[in-house]
Each structure stands twice: as C-alpha cells, then as structure tokens.
Symmetry: none
C-alpha cells in the first residue's frame, strides 16, 4: 500500500560534514506526501566501491530510490559510472543531452569546457530527465525490483527537475495513497507531560500518534489513513485539542496554517490592528527581535539594571513585591508610548543565578491589555542562553494567550 | 591509519523530512578532524526491525559508529531496545542514570513523569555517558568489531555530551593521527571573494585548503600534517592572515580561542572594561540580543519609526543627510546614558525595500568611541529576515573594528 522508498546522497562534502544535506529532507518530505514509506537515507562519499555497494543493496531492498549528487563534470563525480558497473549498463552517448548542455553554455555566451561532455553519457536503458536549470541531466533506470532516479546535487536543479519531471512519473508508476497529517503545535508544556495528559485517550489502530520537540514548540502529530472522512479526522483531533487547549497555538493540516509561535502572534496582532511596546531586562532584545516583520511593535527597550529603569521612569525601586513594581513600571511607561499593549519583563535573580546552569531564575512577565494586568511568573532552568531564549518565548506566549 | 567511522541518525522526523539532519554533518566534521575516515551516513525511522538491521550491518562494517536519536522517554523511542535485541544485551536499570534524571526534574521543581524511568535502562555491558544538559543519558557499547556511541538527538545535548565525554574516549581508544587544523574566521567578505584574494598563494602539497560558510562568518581552513612543526604552521598561516587581516575576527587552532564573532566582542569589551548603549531601528533588538552574557550592554532601544525617535531625543528629523542625523542622535542619546560607546543604526529604505528580497536596503551604522565618530554604510540584499540579521552582525562587526 505504501511502496518503500530510499534516499541516497552522494558527495565528499556531505560525508565529511562540510555541507549539511538538505536535499534528503526535502525529497523525503515530498515522497511522504505522495504516499511513499521512506525507510532509509544513506550518504556515501566520492568512492566508486562504496557507491556500487550501496546501489546494489538498495536495488534489492526498495521499490524506488531517489539519488542526488555525483553527476558533475569533474573526475570525482562517479555516480553514472557506478550505475554502469553495478548493474552492467554500459554508458552511451546521448546526443540530445549533449545538445542541451551545449545550448546551456551558448545561452550564457560561454564556451563549453571539454569535461562537460561526460555529462551526456547515460547508462544503457535509462530515461533522461531534462535539466533546464543547469548542465547535468538526471536520469531514471529500472534495476531488479527498484526504480532509481538520479538527480544533480545542486538543490535548485534537484528541486526543479523533481517538480517538473519526476513527481508526475512517480504518481503514474506507483499505486500511492496519500495520508492526512494533522499537527497540534504547542508551547509551554514538555513532551513527556503531553504524553501523560493524552495517555487516557484511546486511538483506533489506523491512526498513528507521534511527538516531536522542535525549537520553541512541541508538536503532537496524528496521521490518518488515506480514505479518512473529514468527520473522522475532526472527531479525533478534537479529543486532543480539548486536553491541550491552552497550550496549542496552531493546528496544521486542516486547511489554514499560521506558522510558528511568532508568526501566529504576528498574524493575530496584525489582524486585530493592535500595537505593543516592550521593556526587556534579561532577554536582552530577543522579545523584540521575535516580533517579526509586523509593524505593530512600536518601541522596545532593554535595561541592564532594574534600578536604572526605575530611575528613568520615576518609579520607586523595590524588589519585595515584584508584581507591584511591574505594574507601576507599566503605568509609568504607558505615558511615553501610544501602544495598545504593554509588556514588561523583570527578573529577580542575581547575576550568578542567570549564568549558573544549576540555578533557577525567577522570570516575571507583566502584560497590560485593555486596562487589565496579567502577571506571569516562572522559574527557568538551563544555561544562560537557554534561559534567555525561554524567557523571551514565555513572554510572547503570554501575549498570545491574552489577545 | 584512518579507522572507518559511520554515522547513524534515528527518528521519524528525519526519515520523513520534517527535520533536516544537522547532527550528522556536525559529527562527521568532528570525526574527520579527529582523524577518522567517515564512510557512510544512514538514517532510519522509528521502526524496530529497520533499526536492528542497520545496527547489525554497521557492526560488521565499521570500527566506530556514532548514533543519535531515539533515546527519549516516549514509546516511539526505540534505540536502546534495538541495541538490546540486535546484540543480545538485555536492558538493565542504571541507578546512577535514574538519580541524574530525577535530579534534573528536582532542580526544575517538577515531578518526574513515570515514562522517564525508561531512560535509565541501558544495555548490558554498556558504559553510561552522562547528560548534564537533558534527561537522556548516552551510552557506549562494543559489539563485534565496532564501538558504538549512542547520543540523544537534541543537538545541544548531543554536542555537549560529545565534547565533554566522547571526544577524549575516541582519542584514547583509536590510533588516530590528529592533523592540525587552523581556522581563520572572517566576517564581511564572501567565499568567492576570499578565494580570489588567496588565489596567488602557493601551498605545499601536504597542506589542505578549504572554505566553509557558517552562520555569521566565512571560515578558511588549513589542515597541516600530523607531524608539522609550529614554525611551518605559523609561516603558512601568516600568508593568509596578511591577505585577509581586517576581516579576521578570530583564529582557531593556534591555542587561545575566542569563539564566534559575538563571543570575541564580548571578551574584548569585558577585558577592556568598556560599556555600550544601542539604538536599533531595523534590526529590532537583534544587536542587543547578540551582545551575549556580558554586563557591558547598559541600555538598548528599538524604535519602529526614526521620526518618533527624533521627537523623543529632541533632534530635528531629516533624512537628507543621514550621517549627520545619526551623529546628532548619538549626542542627544549620550546625555541619557553612562555608556562609553554609543551605537546607532538607521535605515533609509521604505517598508517595501525592507520586505522585498529583490530590493537593496541602505543600512547606516554610527559608532561613537572615545569622542570619535565612525560611520558605516552598506546596501543589504536578501529577504526580510536575512537583511535584519545581516544588519545586526554588521553593526557588531563595526564595533569590533574600533575597540
């Protein structure tokens, strides 16, 4: 029902870690959406023996394999040669491919280097995949039980050839059934705490449940079978949203998608035509920088010392009642700004508590929205950077909950 | 001479392409630097059969394998179980690991969910690798001809455990000939421009030259043979530093390392006992947030509108001579702060120029250090986020050049 697909990346820059392999993730994502079961990614370097070995293995394991890299004009580009040797498919000169490469150079008023001739040599019985975005054509070839697709490693060329020529061929060739993925995006609750809360919910066997911790969020993923009715999907999603309601800032997969925590807030502030001004202490400009491209953040200040901040805003400095202090600072700050919403962050900890990863730090966030004050307090753990980042996210999540 | 090492990533989010696997590249880079020959990267999903199969294969192929992911507390984290089944090493309860996990929660005033108990179960004969940055301990185990190292998939935890516990063990266990890597870390110049500048320098065959674009820097890498004398290294490094002098903010590999651009500035400001105050417009708090953990950033302000900023500081608004405006704003701002250095960023572009990735944006940075003004102007390209990020880095690099 879900044909097995593997992904193979080839290149010395990938195997030695000089380049992060983004092609594999992109191709995997496309393949899963089409309805394949992606079972394995492999990467090898510019080594003929390694390449031949891995191609042979995959040809016996998968129904389809998408390979990137190694199609360039230089002597360390070995993929075509490896295919020829691994599967006994001698290379043949493809005149149309050669004309396309010549044309590519002519169009740019450049002479084609002799080495590019190599890119027009394709394995016997393979099908050429035209590359209108670069010089190396891709190709597809069927060996043993596996249909192989070879694409250049340059991401733009790879993506363009895939979308223009490969995708439709995959849909035609394989009996694919596209599943529905619904993602609940939460902030303010950990992965294992989510699991505990959801433990009692019984799921039918045909729905898969998964969790994923991403930067600034934890995601709950529900995968529904290809033939699920909308009512079936909504009913099961509702069980989860009820349990996690306050923590969910967005739901992907049911139509409208609002993006990450910051994009969601940005969309909401813009839509409601609200504006904000911020005073940060500990998070040091991070709240402001997370406010994205919207024009709704009118002013933001960072103050190293709460004492100095008090002097500037003419508020009596005291740390005995930090909630009261935050309220007074909000009122004093409000005089200086036209913003609808005021957000002030105060931190009660010492310099040592800020830096020491073994010490908790008390972070207070005070929000004023339409005359109401909302105070939030949390003790944060982790190293300096973690605490700072967390403090900024907390402040913006607190904003999200009150607009 | 170069033992074979493989890298294995585990996780449904990687195999389905929801997450780009950056761990593999990072680990490969570290391993190559240590003197391993990295021959293959593999990724598989949350599937016990696939995991057992790939672990068995690797145990027969490589001398060392570093694995990431699948050590979490949830039911889809299967790596430990797969190791136990693949190699006949039943899981044992590790009391010390359990204490560490309990401690992690206690420190944060949270009760440990019952599911985390699972993370204290380690395969028989394995060696625990303490995780001081999260809950899942790593572990190492020797099977067939291969030494396996299992680390959590969370990048910060993975990196920290690797650097604190794994690196030294690898050096002790394998006959590695560690080459000397010298990295020139530059800002403000592109990769191809660097290549052009360095083109005339002749290198002996035994020195390898490489380039790497990283966030906020471009690195020039020189790899010297294991037996190189210091004079040999210094003489060749000097050829490159002469050519790139103004762009180099740090040199790694010759002893003292100062970290990235921001850490280098932090160290310098702290050492010289200088303080700074900042007004940002376009970069929206990013300059302040990059100023790190030092206490030398006294104040920072973000203003959405230059006009409002002028009103606040009582400076006549005009955009005909933006350099003069910046100077006047510096002088007006200086009255309100005790900081030694003033940094003001002004952007002349329209809202459209900010957002449109096809339009250049004029970014002005004005620095006042010990009575001198230093004005910097650059037209930035790219999408909104890129321009913002670049503008903040430019401002801090401008600071670096004048302290």
């Amino acid at each position: 029902m879900h044909p097995i697909l593997e992904i193979l990346s080839q290149g010395e820059e990938i195997i030695t870690g000089q380049t992060v392999d983004t092609n594999s993730a992109w191709l995997a994502h496309q393949s899963v959406e089409l309805g394949f079961h992606v079972s394995r990614h492999t990467a090898v370097g510019d080594n003929l023996t390694d390449l031949i070995k891995v191609l042979t293995e995959i040809s016996q394991r998968a129904a389809c394999c998408i390979c990137t890299g190694g199609l360039g004009p230089t002597c360390d580009d070995l993929t075509t040669e490896a295919v020829a040797q691994a599967f006994g498919l001698p290379l043949l000169f493809d005149e149309e491919a050669f004309n396309q490469i010549t044309h590519f150079y002519a169009l740019r008023n450049r002479r084609m280097p002799e080495s590019n001739r190599k890119q027009a040599m394709l394995p016997t019985s393979s099908e050429r995949l035209d590359n209108e975005w670069g010089t190396a054509p891709g190709f597809a070839v069927h060996v043993n039980q596996c249909w192989f697709i070879f694409l250049p490693g340059v991401p733009t060329e790879m993506r363009n050839i895939f979308l223009a020529h490969v995708k439709a061929k995959l849909v035609n060739r394989f009996p694919l059934q596209v599943k529905t993925l619904v993602t609940l995006r939460t902030f303010g609750i950990g992965e294992s705490e989510i699991q505990q809360r959801l433990h009692a919910i019984q799921l039918p066997d045909d729905i898969q449940l998964g969790f994923r911790a991403a930067p600034n969020e934890v995601q709950v993923k529900l995968v529904f079978p290809a033939d699920s009715l909308p009512e079936y999907i909504y009913a099961h999603v509702a069980l989860y949203t009820q349990e996690l309601a306050e923590f969910i800032f967005a739901i992907d997969g049911l139509g409208k998608e609002t993006g990450d925590l910051f994009e969601t807030i940005d969309a909401c502030m813009t839509q409601k035509n609200l504006s904000m001004a911020v005073i940060e202490t500990f998070s040091q400009g991070l709240i402001a920088s997370f406010c994205g491209r919207g024009n709704w953040l009118l002013d933001a200040q960072y103050h190293h010392s709460i004492k100095n901040l008090c002097t500037k805003l003419n508020v009596t400095f005291q740390m005995d009642n930090i909630c009261l202090l935050a309220q007074e600072l909000v009122l004093a700050f409000k005089v200086h700004t036209d913003a609808d919403i005021i957000l002030i962050q105060l931190v009660a900890g010492t310099a040592e508590q800020k830096r020491d990863k073994h010490q908790l730090l008390d972070v207070h966030t005070m929000l004023q929205v339409q005359g109401h004050f909302y105070h939030h307090h949390k003790a944060l753990a982790g190293d300096f950077k973690n605490k700072q980042h967390h403090a900024a996210c907390l402040a913006l999540d607190w904003l999200r909950r009150h607009i």
